[in-house]
Symmetry: C2
Subunit: 230 residues, 2 copies
Amino acid sequence: MPSDQTRSAILAAAERLYADRGFGDVTLRDIVAEANVNLAAVNYHFGSKDELIAELFVSRSLATNRERLNELKAAEESGGGRAPIDAILRALVGPTLRGCLGPDREGSTAARFMIRASIESVAPIRRIKNREVDHLRKFIAAMRRAMPGRDDADLYWGLHFALAMSHHTIREKERLTKLSEGKCDLNDVQAIIDRVVSVSVMALTGGEAPAKKAPARSPAPQGRLTRQDL
Amino acid sequence: MPSDQTRSAILAAAERLYADRGFGDVTLRDIVAEANVNLAAVNYHFGSKDELIAELFVSRSLATNRERLNELKAAEESGGGRAPIDAILRALVGPTLRGCLGPDREGSTAARFMIRASIESVAPIRRIKNREVDHLRKFIAAMRRAMPGRDDADLYWGLHFALAMSHHTIREKERLTKLSEGKCDLNDVQAIIDRVVSVSVMALTGGEAPAKKAPARSPAPQGRLTRQDL
DNA sequence: TTGCAATTCAAACACTTGTATGAAACTATC
DNA sequence: GATAGTTTCATACAAGTGTTTGAATTGCAA
Protein backbone atom coordinates (compact mmCIF):
# COMPACT_ATOMS: atom_id res chain seq x y z
CA MET A 1 0.00 0.00 0.00
CA PRO A 2 1.48 3.37 -0.99
CA SER A 3 2.38 5.62 1.88
CA ASP A 4 -0.13 8.31 0.95
CA GLN A 5 -3.03 5.91 1.12
CA THR A 6 -2.23 5.07 4.71
CA ARG A 7 -1.74 8.70 5.57
CA SER A 8 -5.06 9.84 4.16
CA ALA A 9 -6.86 6.79 5.51
CA ILE A 10 -5.72 7.81 8.97
CA LEU A 11 -6.75 11.41 8.42
CA ALA A 12 -10.18 10.42 7.15
CA ALA A 13 -10.82 7.92 9.92
CA ALA A 14 -9.63 10.30 12.60
CA GLU A 15 -11.78 13.12 11.32
CA ARG A 16 -14.84 10.92 11.16
CA LEU A 17 -14.40 9.54 14.66
CA TYR A 18 -13.55 12.88 16.22
CA ALA A 19 -16.55 14.47 14.52
CA ASP A 20 -18.88 11.77 15.77
CA ARG A 21 -17.59 11.09 19.25
CA GLY A 22 -15.41 14.00 20.24
CA PHE A 23 -11.77 14.12 21.15
CA GLY A 24 -12.12 12.67 24.61
CA ASP A 25 -13.56 9.36 23.59
CA VAL A 26 -11.41 8.45 20.59
CA THR A 27 -8.12 6.63 21.01
CA LEU A 28 -5.39 5.94 18.51
CA ARG A 29 -6.47 2.32 18.52
CA ASP A 30 -9.98 3.36 17.51
CA ILE A 31 -8.56 5.37 14.65
CA VAL A 32 -6.26 2.71 13.27
CA ALA A 33 -9.05 0.15 13.53
CA GLU A 34 -11.37 2.42 11.55
CA ALA A 35 -8.63 3.08 9.00
CA ASN A 36 -7.50 -0.55 8.80
CA VAL A 37 -3.87 0.33 9.38
CA ASN A 38 -1.30 -0.60 11.97
CA LEU A 39 -1.12 1.20 15.28
CA ALA A 40 2.43 2.38 14.70
CA ALA A 41 1.47 4.05 11.44
CA VAL A 42 0.14 7.13 13.22
CA ASN A 43 3.42 7.90 14.90
CA TYR A 44 5.33 6.98 11.76
CA HIS A 45 3.37 9.37 9.52
CA PHE A 46 2.47 12.17 11.92
CA GLY A 47 4.96 11.97 14.75
CA SER A 48 2.36 12.03 17.50
CA LYS A 49 -1.35 12.08 18.17
CA ASP A 50 -1.29 15.81 18.79
CA GLU A 51 0.37 16.50 15.47
CA LEU A 52 -2.28 14.43 13.74
CA ILE A 53 -5.02 16.51 15.34
CA ALA A 54 -3.20 19.72 14.52
CA GLU A 55 -2.79 18.80 10.86
CA LEU A 56 -6.47 17.89 10.68
CA PHE A 57 -7.50 21.17 12.22
CA VAL A 58 -5.18 23.42 10.27
CA SER A 59 -6.21 22.12 6.88
CA ARG A 60 -9.93 22.27 7.65
CA SER A 61 -9.61 25.66 9.26
CA LEU A 62 -7.93 27.09 6.20
CA ALA A 63 -10.61 25.60 3.95
CA THR A 64 -13.50 27.11 5.90
CA ASN A 65 -11.85 30.50 6.13
CA ARG A 66 -11.14 30.45 2.42
CA GLU A 67 -14.77 29.70 1.65
CA ARG A 68 -15.94 32.49 3.90
CA LEU A 69 -13.57 34.99 2.38
CA ASN A 70 -14.56 33.97 -1.12
CA GLU A 71 -18.19 34.70 -0.36
CA LEU A 72 -17.25 37.95 1.29
CA LYS A 73 -15.14 39.02 -1.65
CA ALA A 74 -17.87 38.12 -4.12
CA ALA A 75 -20.38 40.16 -2.13
CA GLU A 76 -18.08 43.15 -1.94
CA GLU A 77 -17.26 43.06 -5.62
CA SER A 78 -20.87 42.86 -6.69
CA GLY A 79 -21.58 45.81 -4.43
CA GLY A 80 -18.75 47.94 -5.75
CA GLY A 81 -16.35 47.39 -2.89
CA ARG A 82 -18.99 47.76 -0.20
CA ALA A 83 -21.06 44.68 0.63
CA PRO A 84 -24.41 45.03 2.42
CA ILE A 85 -24.37 43.92 6.03
CA ASP A 86 -26.62 40.92 5.48
CA ALA A 87 -24.36 39.58 2.74
CA ILE A 88 -21.36 39.93 5.02
CA LEU A 89 -23.03 37.96 7.77
CA ARG A 90 -24.23 35.41 5.26
CA ALA A 91 -20.65 34.88 4.16
CA LEU A 92 -19.68 34.42 7.80
CA VAL A 93 -22.26 31.87 8.90
CA GLY A 94 -23.28 30.34 5.58
CA PRO A 95 -20.34 28.03 4.97
CA THR A 96 -20.42 26.59 8.47
CA LEU A 97 -24.17 26.10 8.63
CA ARG A 98 -24.39 24.62 5.16
CA GLY A 99 -21.55 22.27 5.91
CA CYS A 100 -22.85 21.06 9.25
CA LEU A 101 -26.59 20.90 8.64
CA GLY A 102 -26.58 20.23 4.92
CA PRO A 103 -27.99 17.00 3.49
CA ASP A 104 -24.67 15.85 2.03
CA ARG A 105 -23.20 13.64 4.72
CA GLU A 106 -19.81 13.73 3.06
CA GLY A 107 -18.88 17.36 3.41
CA SER A 108 -20.57 17.51 6.78
CA THR A 109 -17.90 15.37 8.40
CA ALA A 110 -15.30 18.05 7.96
CA ALA A 111 -17.53 20.73 9.39
CA ARG A 112 -18.75 18.67 12.29
CA PHE A 113 -15.13 18.06 13.11
CA MET A 114 -14.58 21.79 13.19
CA ILE A 115 -17.51 22.24 15.52
CA ARG A 116 -16.08 19.66 17.87
CA ALA A 117 -12.83 21.53 17.74
CA SER A 118 -14.56 24.77 18.62
CA ILE A 119 -16.27 23.11 21.57
CA GLU A 120 -13.86 20.70 23.21
CA SER A 121 -10.79 22.83 23.49
CA VAL A 122 -8.00 20.26 23.31
CA ALA A 123 -4.41 21.39 23.70
CA PRO A 124 -3.01 21.14 20.15
CA ILE A 125 -5.98 22.99 18.70
CA ARG A 126 -6.06 25.70 21.32
CA ARG A 127 -2.59 26.78 20.26
CA ILE A 128 -3.62 27.20 16.66
CA LYS A 129 -6.96 28.81 17.29
CA ASN A 130 -5.68 32.17 18.38
CA ARG A 131 -4.80 33.05 14.81
CA GLU A 132 -8.51 32.93 13.95
CA VAL A 133 -8.91 36.36 15.45
CA ASP A 134 -7.13 37.84 12.46
CA HIS A 135 -9.59 36.13 10.18
CA LEU A 136 -12.60 37.56 12.01
CA ARG A 137 -11.09 41.02 11.88
CA LYS A 138 -11.57 41.00 8.12
CA PHE A 139 -15.30 40.61 8.68
CA ILE A 140 -15.28 43.38 11.23
CA ALA A 141 -13.57 45.60 8.69
CA ALA A 142 -16.22 44.76 6.08
CA MET A 143 -18.98 45.43 8.58
CA ARG A 144 -17.44 48.78 9.42
CA ARG A 145 -17.55 49.72 5.75
CA ALA A 146 -21.19 48.62 5.54
CA MET A 147 -22.25 50.54 8.65
CA PRO A 148 -19.92 53.50 8.92
CA GLY A 149 -21.72 55.25 11.75
CA ARG A 150 -21.96 52.24 14.02
CA ASP A 151 -20.01 51.97 17.21
CA ASP A 152 -17.21 49.41 17.06
CA ALA A 153 -18.44 47.54 20.11
CA ASP A 154 -21.81 47.03 18.43
CA LEU A 155 -20.11 45.49 15.42
CA TYR A 156 -18.17 43.08 17.61
CA TRP A 157 -21.31 42.12 19.48
CA GLY A 158 -23.17 41.61 16.22
CA LEU A 159 -20.51 39.33 14.84
CA HIS A 160 -20.29 37.54 18.17
CA PHE A 161 -24.03 36.90 18.26
CA ALA A 162 -24.07 35.70 14.66
CA LEU A 163 -21.43 33.12 15.47
CA ALA A 164 -23.26 32.27 18.69
CA MET A 165 -26.49 31.45 16.90
CA SER A 166 -24.90 29.42 14.14
CA HIS A 167 -22.62 27.42 16.41
CA HIS A 168 -25.30 26.82 19.02
CA THR A 169 -27.73 25.68 16.36
CA ILE A 170 -25.26 23.13 15.10
CA ARG A 171 -24.33 21.94 18.56
CA GLU A 172 -27.86 21.69 19.95
CA LYS A 173 -29.46 20.46 16.77
CA GLU A 174 -30.93 17.32 18.31
CA ARG A 175 -32.05 19.06 21.46
CA LEU A 176 -33.88 21.77 19.53
CA THR A 177 -35.60 19.17 17.38
CA LYS A 178 -36.72 17.32 20.48
CA LEU A 179 -37.75 20.43 22.39
CA SER A 180 -39.80 21.77 19.51
CA GLU A 181 -41.18 18.33 18.69
CA GLY A 182 -40.10 18.72 15.12
CA LYS A 183 -41.64 22.15 14.67
CA CYS A 184 -38.18 23.60 14.01
CA ASP A 185 -37.02 22.15 10.72
CA LEU A 186 -33.29 21.58 11.07
CA ASN A 187 -33.05 20.29 7.52
CA ASP A 188 -34.05 23.50 5.78
CA VAL A 189 -30.56 24.95 5.95
CA GLN A 190 -31.33 27.97 3.81
CA ALA A 191 -34.17 29.01 6.09
CA ILE A 192 -31.90 28.67 9.10
CA ILE A 193 -29.21 30.80 7.49
CA ASP A 194 -31.85 33.39 6.62
CA ARG A 195 -33.09 33.39 10.18
CA VAL A 196 -29.66 33.72 11.75
CA VAL A 197 -28.68 36.48 9.33
CA SER A 198 -31.98 38.25 9.83
CA VAL A 199 -31.66 38.31 13.59
CA SER A 200 -28.02 39.34 13.39
CA VAL A 201 -28.91 42.23 11.12
CA MET A 202 -31.61 43.28 13.54
CA ALA A 203 -29.10 43.13 16.36
CA LEU A 204 -26.87 45.46 14.40
CA THR A 205 -29.43 47.87 12.95
CA GLY A 206 -32.09 47.90 15.64
CA GLY A 207 -31.66 48.59 19.30
CA GLU A 208 -29.49 51.65 18.76
CA ALA A 209 -26.87 50.41 21.23
CA PRO A 210 -28.56 49.42 24.49
CA ALA A 211 -27.96 51.89 27.29
CA LYS A 212 -24.73 53.49 26.14
CA LYS A 213 -24.65 55.80 29.12
CA ALA A 214 -28.35 56.43 29.41
CA PRO A 215 -29.97 56.69 32.84
CA ALA A 216 -32.45 53.88 32.17
CA ARG A 217 -30.62 50.56 31.98
CA SER A 218 -33.21 48.39 30.30
CA PRO A 219 -33.59 48.83 26.55
CA ALA A 220 -36.90 47.03 26.64
CA PRO A 221 -39.73 48.87 28.39
CA GLN A 222 -41.10 47.54 31.61
CA GLY A 223 -44.41 46.35 30.24
CA ARG A 224 -45.17 44.87 26.86
CA LEU A 225 -42.50 45.67 24.37
CA THR A 226 -43.30 48.62 22.19
CA ARG A 227 -41.41 49.05 18.97
CA GLN A 228 -40.36 52.62 19.46
CA ASP A 229 -36.70 51.72 19.53
CA LEU A 230 -36.71 49.72 16.36
CA MET B 1 -12.86 14.17 60.41
CA PRO B 2 -16.64 13.78 60.16
CA SER B 3 -17.86 12.06 57.07
CA ASP B 4 -19.69 15.11 55.76
CA GLN B 5 -16.58 17.23 55.78
CA THR B 6 -14.82 14.79 53.50
CA ARG B 7 -17.83 14.54 51.28
CA SER B 8 -18.24 18.25 50.77
CA ALA B 9 -14.50 18.80 50.49
CA ILE B 10 -14.51 16.40 47.56
CA LEU B 11 -17.52 18.08 46.00
CA ALA B 12 -15.99 21.54 46.32
CA ALA B 13 -12.59 20.50 45.01
CA ALA B 14 -14.11 18.60 42.10
CA GLU B 15 -16.33 21.49 41.12
CA ARG B 16 -13.46 23.94 41.22
CA LEU B 17 -11.15 21.77 39.15
CA TYR B 18 -13.78 20.82 36.62
CA ALA B 19 -14.81 24.45 36.25
CA ASP B 20 -11.24 25.56 35.68
CA ARG B 21 -9.80 22.76 33.59
CA GLY B 22 -12.71 20.82 32.17
CA PHE B 23 -13.67 17.20 32.62
CA GLY B 24 -11.06 15.76 30.33
CA ASP B 25 -8.04 17.01 32.21
CA VAL B 26 -9.03 16.31 35.81
CA THR B 27 -8.36 12.95 37.43
CA LEU B 28 -9.57 11.57 40.72
CA ARG B 29 -6.04 11.97 42.03
CA ASP B 30 -6.16 15.68 41.20
CA ILE B 31 -9.42 16.00 43.08
CA VAL B 32 -8.35 14.19 46.22
CA ALA B 33 -5.10 16.16 46.25
CA GLU B 34 -7.03 19.43 46.06
CA ALA B 35 -9.43 18.26 48.74
CA ASN B 36 -6.71 16.77 50.97
CA VAL B 37 -8.46 13.46 51.30
CA ASN B 38 -7.56 9.91 50.47
CA LEU B 39 -8.03 8.54 46.98
CA ALA B 40 -10.43 5.83 48.09
CA ALA B 41 -12.73 8.39 49.70
CA VAL B 42 -14.33 9.23 46.38
CA ASN B 43 -15.49 5.70 45.74
CA TYR B 44 -16.44 5.29 49.37
CA HIS B 45 -18.68 8.37 49.44
CA PHE B 46 -19.96 8.50 45.89
CA GLY B 47 -19.58 5.02 44.49
CA SER B 48 -17.80 6.08 41.34
CA LYS B 49 -16.37 9.06 39.52
CA ASP B 50 -19.41 9.28 37.29
CA GLU B 51 -21.76 9.40 40.25
CA LEU B 52 -19.71 12.21 41.73
CA ILE B 53 -20.05 14.19 38.54
CA ALA B 54 -23.74 13.40 38.34
CA GLU B 55 -24.40 14.56 41.90
CA LEU B 56 -22.48 17.75 41.23
CA PHE B 57 -24.46 18.43 38.09
CA VAL B 58 -27.87 17.55 39.44
CA SER B 59 -27.64 19.81 42.47
CA ARG B 60 -26.35 22.77 40.48
CA SER B 61 -28.83 22.19 37.74
CA LEU B 62 -31.73 22.22 40.16
CA ALA B 63 -30.42 25.42 41.73
CA THR B 64 -30.18 27.28 38.44
CA ASN B 65 -33.57 26.10 37.29
CA ARG B 66 -35.11 27.13 40.59
CA GLU B 67 -33.63 30.59 40.25
CA ARG B 68 -34.93 30.93 36.73
CA LEU B 69 -38.41 29.82 37.68
CA ASN B 70 -38.49 32.16 40.64
CA GLU B 71 -37.76 35.10 38.38
CA LEU B 72 -40.33 33.89 35.89
CA LYS B 73 -42.96 33.48 38.56
CA ALA B 74 -42.24 36.92 39.98
CA ALA B 75 -42.56 38.47 36.54
CA GLU B 76 -45.82 36.68 35.85
CA GLU B 77 -47.33 37.64 39.19
CA SER B 78 -46.45 41.29 38.84
CA GLY B 79 -48.02 41.20 35.39
CA GLY B 80 -51.23 39.56 36.53
CA GLY B 81 -50.41 36.06 35.31
CA ARG B 82 -48.98 37.21 32.00
CA ALA B 83 -45.34 38.30 31.97
CA PRO B 84 -44.00 40.48 29.15
CA ILE B 85 -41.73 38.70 26.75
CA ASP B 86 -38.59 40.58 27.73
CA ALA B 87 -39.09 39.68 31.40
CA ILE B 88 -39.47 36.03 30.46
CA LEU B 89 -36.24 36.05 28.52
CA ARG B 90 -34.52 37.95 31.29
CA ALA B 91 -35.54 35.23 33.73
CA LEU B 92 -34.12 32.67 31.33
CA VAL B 93 -30.69 34.14 30.66
CA GLY B 94 -30.22 36.38 33.69
CA PRO B 95 -29.28 33.80 36.33
CA THR B 96 -26.73 32.09 34.12
CA LEU B 97 -25.10 35.28 32.84
CA ARG B 98 -24.98 36.88 36.26
CA GLY B 99 -23.49 33.76 37.75
CA CYS B 100 -20.82 33.25 35.13
CA LEU B 101 -19.77 36.81 34.33
CA GLY B 102 -20.49 38.41 37.66
CA PRO B 103 -17.73 39.94 39.76
CA ASP B 104 -18.12 37.56 42.68
CA ARG B 105 -15.59 34.82 42.04
CA GLU B 106 -17.19 32.61 44.63
CA GLY B 107 -20.57 31.96 43.12
CA SER B 108 -19.03 31.88 39.68
CA THR B 109 -17.39 28.54 40.32
CA ALA B 110 -20.74 26.81 40.35
CA ALA B 111 -21.84 28.49 37.17
CA ARG B 112 -18.60 27.98 35.35
CA PHE B 113 -18.94 24.33 36.22
CA MET B 114 -22.36 24.32 34.61
CA ILE B 115 -20.96 25.92 31.49
CA ARG B 116 -18.31 23.25 31.26
CA ALA B 117 -21.04 20.70 31.61
CA SER B 118 -23.02 22.25 28.81
CA ILE B 119 -19.96 22.23 26.57
CA GLU B 120 -18.03 19.04 27.16
CA SER B 121 -20.80 16.53 26.99
CA VAL B 122 -19.49 13.79 29.26
CA ALA B 123 -21.48 10.59 29.63
CA PRO B 124 -23.00 10.91 33.13
CA ILE B 125 -24.19 14.43 32.44
CA ARG B 126 -25.60 13.69 29.03
CA ARG B 127 -28.00 11.23 30.60
CA ILE B 128 -29.34 13.79 33.02
CA LYS B 129 -29.52 16.65 30.60
CA ASN B 130 -32.45 15.36 28.65
CA ARG B 131 -34.79 16.21 31.49
CA GLU B 132 -33.92 19.86 30.98
CA VAL B 133 -36.30 19.91 28.07
CA ASP B 134 -39.22 19.87 30.49
CA HIS B 135 -37.80 22.88 32.24
CA LEU B 136 -37.49 24.87 29.03
CA ARG B 137 -41.05 24.00 28.10
CA LYS B 138 -42.25 26.11 30.99
CA PHE B 139 -40.58 29.10 29.38
CA ILE B 140 -42.11 28.23 26.04
CA ALA B 141 -45.50 28.15 27.72
CA ALA B 142 -44.93 31.57 29.25
CA MET B 143 -43.76 32.94 25.91
CA ARG B 144 -46.88 31.58 24.27
CA ARG B 145 -48.99 33.45 26.77
CA ALA B 146 -47.01 36.62 26.15
CA MET B 147 -47.26 36.37 22.35
CA PRO B 148 -50.49 34.52 21.63
CA GLY B 149 -50.47 34.99 17.88
CA ARG B 150 -46.92 33.85 17.31
CA ASP B 151 -46.09 30.64 15.55
CA ASP B 152 -44.74 27.96 17.86
CA ALA B 153 -41.61 27.44 15.78
CA ASP B 154 -40.76 31.12 16.15
CA LEU B 155 -41.00 30.82 19.91
CA TYR B 156 -38.66 27.84 19.95
CA TRP B 157 -36.18 29.64 17.73
CA GLY B 158 -36.35 32.71 19.93
CA LEU B 159 -35.65 30.74 23.07
CA HIS B 160 -32.94 28.82 21.26
CA PHE B 161 -31.21 32.00 20.12
CA ALA B 162 -31.44 33.54 23.58
CA LEU B 163 -29.67 30.54 25.06
CA ALA B 164 -27.20 30.59 22.16
CA MET B 165 -26.15 34.16 22.84
CA SER B 166 -25.84 33.79 26.57
CA HIS B 167 -23.93 30.51 26.47
CA HIS B 168 -21.65 31.62 23.66
CA THR B 169 -20.87 34.84 25.47
CA ILE B 170 -19.82 32.94 28.55
CA ARG B 171 -17.81 30.40 26.62
CA GLU B 172 -16.02 32.84 24.32
CA LYS B 173 -15.58 35.56 26.89
CA GLU B 174 -11.82 35.78 26.54
CA ARG B 175 -11.87 35.55 22.77
CA LEU B 176 -14.40 38.35 22.44
CA THR B 177 -12.38 40.54 24.75
CA LYS B 178 -9.29 39.91 22.69
CA LEU B 179 -11.02 40.31 19.34
CA SER B 180 -12.63 43.57 20.33
CA GLU B 181 -9.48 44.78 22.06
CA GLY B 182 -11.46 45.51 25.18
CA LYS B 183 -14.17 47.47 23.41
CA CYS B 184 -16.73 44.89 24.53
CA ASP B 185 -16.99 45.19 28.28
CA LEU B 186 -17.49 41.68 29.62
CA ASN B 187 -17.69 42.95 33.19
CA ASP B 188 -20.84 44.99 32.77
CA VAL B 189 -23.13 42.02 33.22
CA GLN B 190 -26.33 44.02 33.31
CA ALA B 191 -25.58 45.59 29.95
CA ILE B 192 -24.87 42.18 28.48
CA ILE B 193 -28.14 40.79 29.79
CA ASP B 194 -29.94 43.81 28.35
CA ARG B 195 -28.30 43.28 25.01
CA VAL B 196 -29.07 39.57 24.83
CA VAL B 197 -32.66 40.13 25.90
CA SER B 198 -33.04 43.01 23.49
CA VAL B 199 -31.83 41.01 20.51
CA SER B 200 -33.92 38.01 21.52
CA VAL B 201 -37.02 40.17 21.72
CA MET B 202 -36.26 41.56 18.28
CA ALA B 203 -35.86 38.05 16.98
CA LEU B 204 -39.31 37.23 18.33
CA THR B 205 -41.19 40.40 17.47
CA GLY B 206 -39.44 41.45 14.28
CA GLY B 207 -38.92 39.40 11.17
CA GLU B 208 -42.49 38.10 11.03
CA ALA B 209 -41.34 34.49 10.56
CA PRO B 210 -38.84 34.29 7.71
CA ALA B 211 -40.35 32.74 4.59
CA LYS B 212 -43.05 30.55 6.08
CA LYS B 213 -44.15 29.30 2.69
CA ALA B 214 -43.57 32.50 0.79
CA PRO B 215 -42.05 32.38 -2.69
CA ALA B 216 -39.11 34.59 -1.74
CA ARG B 217 -36.75 32.74 0.58
CA SER B 218 -34.68 35.56 1.95
CA PRO B 219 -36.21 37.67 4.71
CA ALA B 220 -33.51 40.27 4.23
CA PRO B 221 -33.73 42.21 0.98
CA GLN B 222 -30.99 41.83 -1.57
CA GLY B 223 -29.40 45.21 -1.00
CA ARG B 224 -29.17 47.22 2.18
CA LEU B 225 -31.63 46.11 4.76
CA THR B 226 -34.75 48.17 4.86
CA ARG B 227 -36.87 48.10 7.96
CA GLN B 228 -40.18 47.41 6.31
CA ASP B 229 -40.53 44.08 8.07
CA LEU B 230 -39.94 45.38 11.52
C1' DT C 1 -13.22 0.61 79.12
C1' DT C 2 -15.06 -2.33 75.80
C1' DG C 3 -17.14 -3.23 71.44
C1' DC C 4 -18.95 -2.04 67.09
C1' DA C 5 -19.77 0.52 63.22
C1' DA C 6 -18.18 4.20 60.26
C1' DT C 7 -14.41 6.17 58.12
C1' DT C 8 -9.65 6.67 56.52
C1' DC C 9 -5.53 4.97 54.62
C1' DA C 10 -1.60 2.88 51.80
C1' DA C 11 -1.13 -0.28 48.55
C1' DA C 12 -2.26 -2.83 44.73
C1' DC C 13 -5.32 -4.18 40.93
C1' DA C 14 -6.79 -4.48 36.16
C1' DC C 15 -7.04 -1.84 32.38
C1' DT C 16 -6.19 1.74 28.86
C1' DT C 17 -3.43 5.22 27.03
C1' DG C 18 0.32 7.12 23.62
C1' DT C 19 4.74 5.82 22.15
C1' DA C 20 8.92 3.06 20.90
C1' DT C 21 11.30 -0.97 19.00
C1' DG C 22 13.24 -4.10 15.78
C1' DA C 23 12.22 -7.42 12.53
C1' DA C 24 9.59 -8.29 8.33
C1' DA C 25 7.62 -6.95 3.90
C1' DC C 26 7.42 -4.08 0.27
C1' DT C 27 9.15 -0.76 -3.65
C1' DA C 28 12.09 0.96 -6.81
C1' DT C 29 16.81 1.73 -8.70
C1' DC C 30 20.88 -0.10 -10.54
C1' DG D 1 17.94 -10.11 -9.38
C1' DA D 2 20.64 -7.88 -5.66
C1' DT D 3 20.44 -3.71 -2.80
C1' DA D 4 19.00 0.34 -0.32
C1' DG D 5 15.25 2.94 1.36
C1' DT D 6 10.59 3.10 2.71
C1' DT D 7 6.72 1.40 4.91
C1' DT D 8 4.25 -2.07 7.68
C1' DC D 9 3.72 -5.11 11.44
C1' DA D 10 3.41 -7.55 16.06
C1' DT D 11 4.83 -6.61 20.29
C1' DA D 12 6.42 -4.36 24.32
C1' DC D 13 6.89 -0.37 27.33
C1' DA D 14 6.13 3.17 30.76
C1' DA D 15 2.82 6.00 32.56
C1' DG D 16 -1.68 7.01 34.03
C1' DT D 17 -6.59 5.74 34.78
C1' DG D 18 -10.73 4.39 37.98
C1' DT D 19 -11.51 0.99 41.27
C1' DT D 20 -10.84 -2.45 45.02
C1' DT D 21 -8.93 -4.37 49.11
C1' DG D 22 -8.07 -5.20 53.83
C1' DA D 23 -5.92 -3.46 57.57
C1' DA D 24 -5.64 0.74 60.56
C1' DT D 25 -7.92 4.46 62.79
C1' DT D 26 -11.59 7.03 64.55
C1' DG D 27 -16.02 8.16 66.94
C1' DC D 28 -19.57 6.85 69.87
C1' DA D 29 -22.79 3.98 72.53
C1' DA D 30 -23.20 0.45 76.18
